[in-house]
Symmetry: C2
Subunit: 221 residues, 2 copies
């Protein structure tokens, strides 16, 4: 049986959805490693739509997280509320503001944030089964909600973000782009990618290592 | 001086814009090879917007090619009408229906198609300078318009598409996903990628080879 990995997307475009480059690099690394993957996303309106040319919010425009994420997934995506966590051996969350605006509200609420209900239920059920999960970029800001206090993670080195995560009960470890942080007990792997100002091949190096580490932690592989 | 490559995008999402995975794989391969790249796109409305979850046209919705392409480019993109072809050593067109719906109207008009004016002017000026260009997926359908008759290219093996290209004056060569076709005289490299029903790592193999071949054809490198 091939290892089956859920890749959880949060839209399509780093300012209001999933970081496209991180998402594609994750999928490519999984496929290269011989793992099967399935993209999932919540069926919900995005927090907002950002014009990626100007960086401004596109007032009045609405887009759906699942529908936009289908652009990255080439239509092969399912609603996370309909997905069964027990069917997967591992889960990876690419980053992008979508993880902090749609999958959670960390971008707005910081230490007071919550995680979207369908995502939280899927992730908690999966984590409770003791299976490995990988979190890229800003996605690790959801870790304290999913695992409770004292989970070890990185979002790179941004002091304000790290401090909000500490306040939420997470243990933040600074990490360069080409590396990753592992919480061995909880089987959590995280890497900063575009939380740092890096080139695409630098982000890819950390993500490829994260993918391989997550796959290595899958039981019996 | 680093080799500078223009990557010409056609939106963001393969059913109405640039194929996201092909675009990211192209950028990653260029960066890994030590080349500098700049994304370009035309500033125009998309032919239409397709819901990538259902595959249906989203009636009444409008999106701009340059603005959407900025999602893939992480905001680092410029209007092709403002770009100077002489500043680049090579050009690559990723695929996706956007190449046949926005950069050209091949998806609608087939052998009677034309190429968008800003794109055509940029590409013809660039081609006239004898510099190498790479075309992925359906983007090679623009080659006869840019180079005139008898240019050698591939769109994989689809007989109807190949026949329309032949009618336009192109010389179609069937090609598997892991390979590419070269017109040595005109310095054109093409590879089918997602014109074939393949896995992401298979598409990546052909695109990485295309990128390396294009870079190898840059004068003095």
């Amino acid at each position: 049986m091939m290892t089956k990995v859920a890749v959880i997307l949060s839209g399509s475009g780093f300012l209001d959805g999933a970081e496209i480059q991180e998402s594609v690099i994750t999928m490519l690394a999984l496929d290269k490693a011989g793992a099967d993957y399935q993209c999932l996303a919540p069926d919900m309106e995005q927090m907002h739509v950002v014009n990626h040319l100007t960086g401004e919010v596109s007032e009045g425009e609405q887009r759906n997280v699942l529908v936009e994420a289908a652009r990255i997934a080439r239509t092969q995506i399912i609603d996370i509320a309909e997905a069964n966590p027990n069917e997967f051996d591992a889960v990876i969350f690419p980053g992008g503001y979508g993880a902090a605006k749609n999958l959670s509200n960390f971008a707005v609420k910081g230490a007071e944030s919550t995680v979207q209900q369908d995502v939280l239920q899927f992730a908690r059920t999966f984590a409770a089964a003791g299976k490995p999960m990988g979190y890229v970029c800003i996605a690790p800001a959801m870790i304290p909600h999913i695992y409770g206090a004292d989970a070890k993670l990185t979002i790179g080195s941004d002091p304000d973000t790290a401090s909000a995560i500490t306040e939420m009960g997470g243990i933040h470890v600074s990490c360069p782009v080409a590396d990753f942080v592992v919480d061995e007990e909880r089987k959590i792997v995280s890497t900063p990618a575009y939380m740092l100002n890096v080139r695409i091949s630098e982000a890819a190096e950390g993500i490829e290592k994260l993918v391989n580490k997550v796959l290595e932690m899958v039981d019996g592989k």
